[in-house]
Amino acid sequence: MSITNNRHAIAIFALHLTTTLSASSSFSLPCPSPPPPSSRVRRRRPTVIATPPTPSIRACSFLRSSSSSSSTVPPTSSLSDDDGNDDDPPPSSSSSSSSSSSSSSWWKDYKFNDPHLAHSVIGDFPILSTRFDADGKMTSSSSLVDDERDAGGGGGTGGGKADRRLIYLDSAATSHKPSVVTDALISYYETMNSNVHRGAHALSRESTEAYECARDKVASFVNARDRNEVIFTSGATEAINLVATSLSCREGGGREYRLIGEGDEILITEAEHHSNIVPWQMAASRTGATLRYVPASSVSDGFDVSALMGGLVNDRTKLVSIQHVSNVLGTINPIGDIVDYVRDNASPDVLILLDACQSVPHMKVDVRALGVDFVVASGHKMCGPTGIGFLWGREDVLNGMAPYKGGGEMIDEVYMDGSTYARSPARFEAGTPPIAQAIGLGAAIDYINGIGIDRIHEYEIELGDYLRRRLEDVEGVTVLGPRVGVERAALCSFVSDVVHPSDLGTFLDLEGVAIRSGHHCCQPLHRALGHSHSARASLYFYNTKEDVDDFVSALEGTLGFFRSLTSGTTVDGKDGNIVAETNDDDPFVPLF
């Protein structure tokens, strides 16, 4: 009986070992010491731009070929590029620019190059059929046709809009999810829910396959060299904290890790999101490194690239962390040029982190072409669920970094007097991972690929330009960020001379328009721009021309209303705030 039990135990152990080993592409070894800096060659950004994925990245590469666990579900509508332009010949690029300065109704006849994209996907997003009744209560309508408005609604005033549709212009904060993503979440919990990597049974195999398949999808989406370069986190904020903490923590055990130390410099910018500022402040405080900021541009286009290249980088610079696209200004930064400059002028072992939260959902981000060392992004901004994001990192860099969180999964061997750690990605995925969320993100990537990230990007270039031009025509509104005609993300932050952004948000909300008002987690940037807060409209590929038109109409109405109220007041400020007469000696200073 004991022999049978032993054989049984050995069989189970062998199966477990097989499962564990197949989950990571190599044996777990103690982390090798990184070579000393002098032997490193300064790396330049590779000149090859877009290369197809290498053979090591295949969809669900390490899994068996069964597609039962996760399938690529194309969007419900036909979205080939050939369909878009059948009815509307694309206008020449000069047509919009020639009419923007003349008639104020240029926009009424304006036709998008790809007018069908948004309309064809709206049906995939149940939440976009939300409507508000006359009392402001939310209802979900199965009807997606906007001209089916109830006439008079619940017997109220005649002639007015009794119910309004949701116009969601806050996708920079979070995007909506298509049904395939929510279905994937439910499907995981209902058909394959099980902990990954550690089980020998069928459900565990299913969930592990689906989870690791999602990793492959992310790797392919950003053109990573290897699946081991993708680490799942709870979001971009955690990903940045992972890097900052790992590079700044002292870890015992005599292992040599890549670390930032006293006397080193960390360079970020004044335009960064707080999630790309505060972790570095903490890291600098822990290590004694110096934190430096590239100042915001005086022309409000983002951070001052010429200042970055004008002496802020030196041979003590060990870490540079910058945004790809500004979530406030919509500025798209010239990452390639910045990377080249940093590689030439910083310490030879400098690391460059790219905050790609506002770029990965909207345009092709090729980590190899960009030449950076880390990329972070959040799944919930790209049609994925909340609670998931990822860190992409160069494999050799990751394997030279100290762990971030300790616990199960990230270890190789655990003894009472110490432990050895697994290689990336397991090293940085302690504990039970966000399995369902990662699978949901995989489904979101499939959905986006089904439409085509390039098609989405092209549409948003035009949509963002259209939004910018429409806002340019609104009296009393100042749009922050790049001027008309400069390519930007499909988002606009703006201030008004008569209305506080918070009041704008409230009044637009009553019209069914969802924008965001505040500092958008960029207080230093707002201080540099001289505004306490701003209002922001941010779009995604499910927003239509009508969304922008209705938003501008509601905005003009709100501004007109407030203008009629404050006719007895001289406004000196831009933010619509009432402070006081200033005849006293106590000039009012806001707390921040």
């Binding site: 109220l565 009432i578 006293d584």
Partner: protein, 169 residues
Amino acid sequence: MLAAASLRRVARIAHSRCPAFAPVAVGDTNATAGGGRRGYHENIIEHYENPRNVGSLDKNDDDVGTGLVGAPACGDVMKLQIKVDENGIIQDSKFKTFGCGSAIASSSVATEWVKGKHVDEVLAIKNTDIAAHLKLPPVKLHCSMLAEDAIRASVNDWKAKKEAKNAAA
């Protein structure tokens, strides 16, 4: 910490209003020609257009209590001051607010309500009373909370000054 430019932007000058100026009639707040658009209640609009007691008292005055409260998350900042007589009755009150219409209205109401009351009595003023009077939208309740905090802060400041003065005497 703040650039001079932003200080200028902060200071919005309100000229003294012509007494004949009447507030916009916004009984049901559907003030637009097309009708059907909801907005702030007329009480908020009234205080926004005609804020009461805007200004400053001398913060170095022993009889003046100054409460400066802020909510950096939404950016609203309120300064509310009270002038208290020897019996503890608030004789005058002034405010300055940096914020949205609801914040301005809440602090304006607060200065009206504290006048003529004893300092301990005004501590009973609750934000829900202010919100109910103004019919604040639910999302703006925090503005009335800020006004309640400003009242308390000004009373506490006056009391602290009084205690310090008594201790020194």
